[in-house]
Symmetry: C2
Subunit: 356 residues, 2 copies
């Protein structure tokens, strides 16, 4: 009996050299224009179905890949969209980016898919300006900016003179740009209302930096409903430098040291809430029995805690969908009569805001 024969894997090697349209056309004895039409989605019908199939098959076989740079240069359109995100570690931002990317990639009835170019704003002095310039040099057809600040207004306005610029997650007041954002004021109110429903009378909030509109709005909404519901809000002395857990811990220490203790605490995001919880534990206290606590964003941490946290779900899907829709519409027609939209967040009740 012969030994087993080694199975030789013959791999179909694509030609190592890149082939261009001219060569492909020569191989097939047709004109470059015919190739271009046959491979396009909108002009394919101009080519007889037999040659179209022949061309497509040959293109695949030859590993032909159109040069998008050349196509962009000729068309004056790249079918790309620049997505500018301030912090790739932020769960909400990444979720929004993901959904926008998925939406843009899809071929939509009105227009082909758009290729997203994702980039993070550097910490550098002119991070936003630099990134915008890079995007424009790359000839993006539109730009989506996540969590822009008022300081970016000028740079954004400049960019908006050239291509549509859409704001997501956070809008800015200095210029009127199409945007898809969250109603943070309503979010804050939602939490206060939840506390009121569960008969809390003395409550407080751990605020994120009040220089950020998001947190300012959450604070305002919360305080407004406090007043309306006749609850007493203990002012939280310190303004946190950043919305992270260590700051939540500091805030907790202040709250625990104060003479009048609230029965419920609203943390402007889950990170702050976590810090508060950690500090409570250090004091031998547990939630929601000693303090009711509600966070914001429904991040992973809020879900994986031993006692999952009542929190507020950011309207990721709606914000993403509207941002993508705005971009599509504006890329298709720069004079599109756009409308900014503000979406409502939703309270996710996991029970930690209930007990007194």
């Amino acid at each position: 009996m012969p030994p087993f024969q080694a199975k030789t894997i013959v791999r179909m090697r694509k030609p190592v050299k890149r082939i261009n349209m001219r060569e492909l056309a020569a191989n097939l004895g047709v004109d470059r224009a015919t190739i271009s039409r046959a491979l396009s989605s909108d002009k394919a019908h101009l080519v007889s179905s037999s040659t179209r199939e022949r061309i497509r098959a040959a293109a695949t076989l030859a590993g032909y890949r159109p040069d998008l740079m050349a196509a962009t240069l000729r068309r004056g359109r790249s079918n790309t969209v620049g997505i500018m995100v301030s912090d790739m570690m932020n769960e909400v931002l990444i979720r929004v980016v993901r959904e926008i990317v998925a939406d843009l990639n899809r071929d939509h009835p009105k227009g082909p898919g758009l290729t997203p170019l994702i980039a993070e704003t550097g910490d550098g002095s002119d991070g936003v300006g630099h990134l915008l310039r890079t995007f424009l040099s790359q000839r993006v057809d539109a730009i989506i900016s996540l969590t822009s600040t008022e300081g970016d207004a000028e740079a954004l306005e400049e960019a908006a003179a050239e291509v549509p610029v859409v704001l997501a997650v956070r809008g800015i007041t200095a210029i009127d740009l199409p945007s898809a954002t969250c109603d943070d004021e309503a979010g804050g109110a939602l939490v206060a209302e939840h506390f009121a429903t569960h008969h809390h009378r003395v409550i407080c909030q751990i605020q994120g930096p009040q220089t950020v509109a998001t947190f300012k709005n959450r604070a305002a909404g919360f305080s407004r409903l406090c007043r309306e519901a006749g609850m007493r809000e203990i002012p939280q002395g310190l303004s946190t430098a950043a919305a992270v857990s260590s700051e939540g811990r500091l805030a907790a220490d202040a709250i625990l040291a104060s003479s009048t203790r609230p029965t419920a605490v609203f943390a402007h995001n889950d990170g702050l809430a976590l810090g508060f919880i950690e500090a409570m534990r250090n004091h031998g206290l547990a939630y929601p029995d000693d303090f009711a606590i509600v966070g914001f964003n429904n991040t992973e941490i809020s879900r994986v805690l031993a006692r999952p946290l009542t929190t507020v779900e950011y309207p990721v899907a709606q914000v993403s969908r509207h941002a993508a829709a705005l971009v599509r519409a504006l890329v298709g027609n720069r004079d599109f009569a756009w409308e900014s939209q503000v979406f409502a967040p939703m309270l996710i009740d996991r029970g930690t805001g209930r007990k007194c």
Copy 2:
């Protein structure tokens, strides 16, 4: 006294229409070639310093931004690098991406800055292949792939025939590509050694999916050192479906139910560790007194816990630097004699692996 006069902000508006090199040249009465040279970094010395400055000033004033598509088409080089990441929610991956981006952006002695294009592999069937094709169509000069799996080998090989492809964080065995990875075997051993040093005799590990090389290696290294140090490793019955906290909880339940209990537990990442900790709490147990526990990755969660976790720091900086260096070298010279490197992780002792 007259009323305060409203301060009129006259904003210098950049020309609304994009200006191109031909127009700029006409305005200045010089040839396009001179503009091109004056604005380049490597050929600027060919232009007299007076005209060079005149051109640069005029370009800035006019808001001239070169069309990179046209430049790429002509040069045959885009100075862009495609970065492919499997999961943008993964903290380690994002940190690596960030550092690579920062490195590539910098103008290096050997060559100009490279613009990174970041994209996430879709969940779709052919996510990797599709993304690679998009990158190649965008004429990237190189591709960096984070956490590729063996299943991607063919697609990567195909891409590598056209441009340099560098693997980061996770290598693959099927093809020999330049890579920058972490020595996970050593990482696992590091933890076991730590346990041995602190006189644990019976230990166990909560493994990530063993289909993933990373976790397989961590497991192997841990087990090897266990044997060498004469410790007894309790086999953990279940193989986790994913390296997330819920799986860590399941594993904990199994461990707590078993007759022989280990005194120390190694979780293959911080998420699994968190799940274990949560489950322990549910049983009224605390770490490190009831169980010593060590995680992996030094993610935010390991740091913000009330009792910060002993964990293993991933060599993010080294992996990133080497990946970027490989790309630079290979973009400069495709025949560069590259060397893959494996970097050692480091144990961060926060005390939770000590107590018996």
